[in-house]
Symmetry: C2
Subunit: 546 residues, 2 copies
Amino acid sequence: MHNWRHDSGDAGDKGLIDKGRHAPTRRELLHAIGVMGGAALLYQAMEAMGHARETQFAGPPNLSGARPGASVLVLGAGLAGMLAAYELAKAGYKVEILEYNNRPGGRNWSLYGGDTYTELGGATQKIGFAPGNYLNPGPWRIPYHHRTLLHYCKAFGVALEPFIQLNHQALVHDSLAFGGKPQRYRELAADWDGNVAELLGKAIDNKGLDSTLRAEDRDRLKEALRRWGLLDKDMRYVKGLRSSRRRGYDRPAGGGVDGAPIASQPFALSDLLDSGIAELIAMHMENQHQTTMFQPVGGMGMIGKAFGRQVAGKVRFGAKVTKIDQSGGAVTVTYSDVASGAVNTAKADYCVCTIPLGILSQIEVDASPGMLAAIAAVPYSNSVKVGLEMRSRFWEDDEAIYGGISFTDREISMVSYPSSGMHSAGPAVLLGAYTFGPASYKFAGMSPEERIATALEMGSVLHPGRYKEQFLGGAAVAWSRSPFTLGCCAQWNEATRKEHYQTLVAVDNRLVLAGEHASYIGCWMEGALLSSLDAITRLHKRALEA
Amino acid sequence: MHNWRHDSGDAGDKGLIDKGRHAPTRRELLHAIGVMGGAALLYQAMEAMGHARETQFAGPPNLSGARPGASVLVLGAGLAGMLAAYELAKAGYKVEILEYNNRPGGRNWSLYGGDTYTELGGATQKIGFAPGNYLNPGPWRIPYHHRTLLHYCKAFGVALEPFIQLNHQALVHDSLAFGGKPQRYRELAADWDGNVAELLGKAIDNKGLDSTLRAEDRDRLKEALRRWGLLDKDMRYVKGLRSSRRRGYDRPAGGGVDGAPIASQPFALSDLLDSGIAELIAMHMENQHQTTMFQPVGGMGMIGKAFGRQVAGKVRFGAKVTKIDQSGGAVTVTYSDVASGAVNTAKADYCVCTIPLGILSQIEVDASPGMLAAIAAVPYSNSVKVGLEMRSRFWEDDEAIYGGISFTDREISMVSYPSSGMHSAGPAVLLGAYTFGPASYKFAGMSPEERIATALEMGSVLHPGRYKEQFLGGAAVAWSRSPFTLGCCAQWNEATRKEHYQTLVAVDNRLVLAGEHASYIGCWMEGALLSSLDAITRLHKRALEA
């Protein structure tokens, strides 16, 4: 029993301040272990210290002892490629990066007012957002346990701010629930807990769980359910000030004469089941979405830019790789200059290739049959994101929704409200669509203008009356039409993992692959970075053995 | 079924952008209704618009028509008093505020390095925090639905940033659970949901709920429980990658060769019951603690300072009220100058008194017997808050805890991590104790230095090895020893509400009380502000009738 609500009556021990000598910090210890024993031992040490479970990251790699003059060619200036180049250069390698785009970052990218984006098929968007506003077409949030990314953000001076994932005041819309009327997450989630608690309480009373529950736990569980589910003294989840404490009031408490609150009426279980709230709660509680999440101040693309500054002068932009050759005791990469069409080659002792598999499978790669099969085996997901700039923050002013996500069963999936600039004046950009599955291909088949208009139409179910009226302009990115990735991210399954994953990540002669596709944290920047660190650590070891 | 996980297969309606005329905004409509009909009608209108449930606030009050020259004396320059003064002055009243302290804000207050605080009994603390660091002795967080406070923060230029309440990575410590070893909130909360889901699933299978659950809901509920609780296909909550998705992994996913995650082992139900996790979840889900919460950039006291700027020149500081007289068709307030001891009087047509009841009950007040009884009837809570400045943000660097609260059954109740400056270098200030009940009186009985040392000792159970080593200095405020409140806030109960509340808030001749004690949102700034708006609206009406 915790005394933030009830008093424990514990005798408090009077403390004395320990002024002992400075003990080695955890970081100091781990660094020492890492220098001595490498990543696997380091991870074991972290586990033994009881702190390790949130990440495999144990600090920057130790790549000491590089042979002077040894060179590495890195393909792709996304996060994986730039991190590889940064750490390899720090270790003493001569490094060059070839990058298709004219900017660093790859899928880490923000679209600002004044930017231009041309997708496959030729449709070009000139973004019209107000200064400071942006759409993150790719990654948009960073979990607290993505320690590699957080480490390098700190090291490279990327300012971070909280990203709001779960917002109890945001809306949940399902066309088949509540007559299609959106409801507040807080009401649905409160009523889910309340209903579950009441039903389980009844089951205990009905002796339906006597063979399962230890006798001594039954009453304790009932009391815990009562408190957790805000049940009344008779273990019922009913309309009242108690249940309203979570779901909200018909009239909230106030001051003065009419200060007394008026309770609200909970929803029926069948309506809750229609709403899909149980799945939504589960999604919000996932490791990847737990508090506290972050985003860079000014747009996710700030990370790509910061990484880019660390490898400045090492990147050849506008270079489209067409061939990777490993003959003759070196790696020779053929590329064409996107602007001029001129064909060139670059040569190095080793190569770290971070090109997405959907692109790489179309390039002539000199590698083992197993690696070529692995490269060909993994399909990529697709998704479309639409940013909608609105004149004012009506979701804040009218509805007290600050950040977070409203969900709908329409094909846009969600509307997400900006986590930055809260309480400021408009204009502001909503994430107006983040599509999955077949909806992504449908949206990708539309022109950018049609995607924006459709997102506006579909999203207006959440904010009727305001949504279209406040609309200023939009931007839409369909990842299947992205010339530099041809999709979102790698979609492994159990079978492909088993058959191809270890072959894909293994050092193949002088070549190693890196990127989110070479990790178990697919579609996340953290996966790209951890993959990169692992790849260059093994490549370095190979280079030392050569 | 929502297509953020599954595809709904809905036919998407192609949208056209509505370029119709500018409709009146909700705010414009509500303002018009407010001007016509007052607060009650306004609230009804808000309800009819389906938006009202999060607040009774409907915009600033409409106090037009004040008699030229009419004057109001406001007692107390806390938020309630300053808002009353601000709105009354705006309406044309001549306003003066008498304030005991030498600063505006009252309980809205931050202690910074260089500040000095002397409590009853004479103990004086000179705060030694680094620049920018602070302790909020009183309020420290703002719910999204405290719309009055948010409105005036915006109007008065108070910058706000997210306050992190729930942190899945924070710790839960109970001396009787897990051998006294703190556990992560995420593991306990995940396992609670999983156990509840599995048990309820079993009860459905055992027919224990056949008389309660509609047949058509049984299978749907089971499937929802399976998804919500991360049960396996046999409806069991077991060790596996599925349950680890929420509770965390023994080895989290990574990149490259060792990228595959390793699942963690869930806790047993009896351990969860020991931990008190069900109550903790309930506490976090309460309306007052739901996302998105806020805090002012730079400390809660920024609000008091901003309100103070709005009433600059109207406040007499260091004025201790000793008598309130209503004879002779005016209100005459006697006060002594705290510095000199000189006794003075101030006179006005009306008086808004925001003095906390524990102080007011010791002052000679000329009011009805009912109001005097009400003033005497309401006890005040006590609490002690301790700020501990630490050399580095070890909770972030070592444990990936960014903001939020760790809980313990020790008398400090909790340790809260700063929601500002995340990812920056130290030093930083933890809230090292926030006591309740008897623990508060025990802590209040200690010297400030003892409180700090005790908080350090008790809190080290959460971060052994780092807590004492990183400690730089502290600050401690015991509200029962606060000379300007003699406690935290009013503690109404059902009986006192029934007997005294309406008498307490009623206009008594020329006097009206305001403050959190005159509201149903006790202990929150929002209650003080809504009470103030209600009080001055009724006082203004009385003045117009006079």
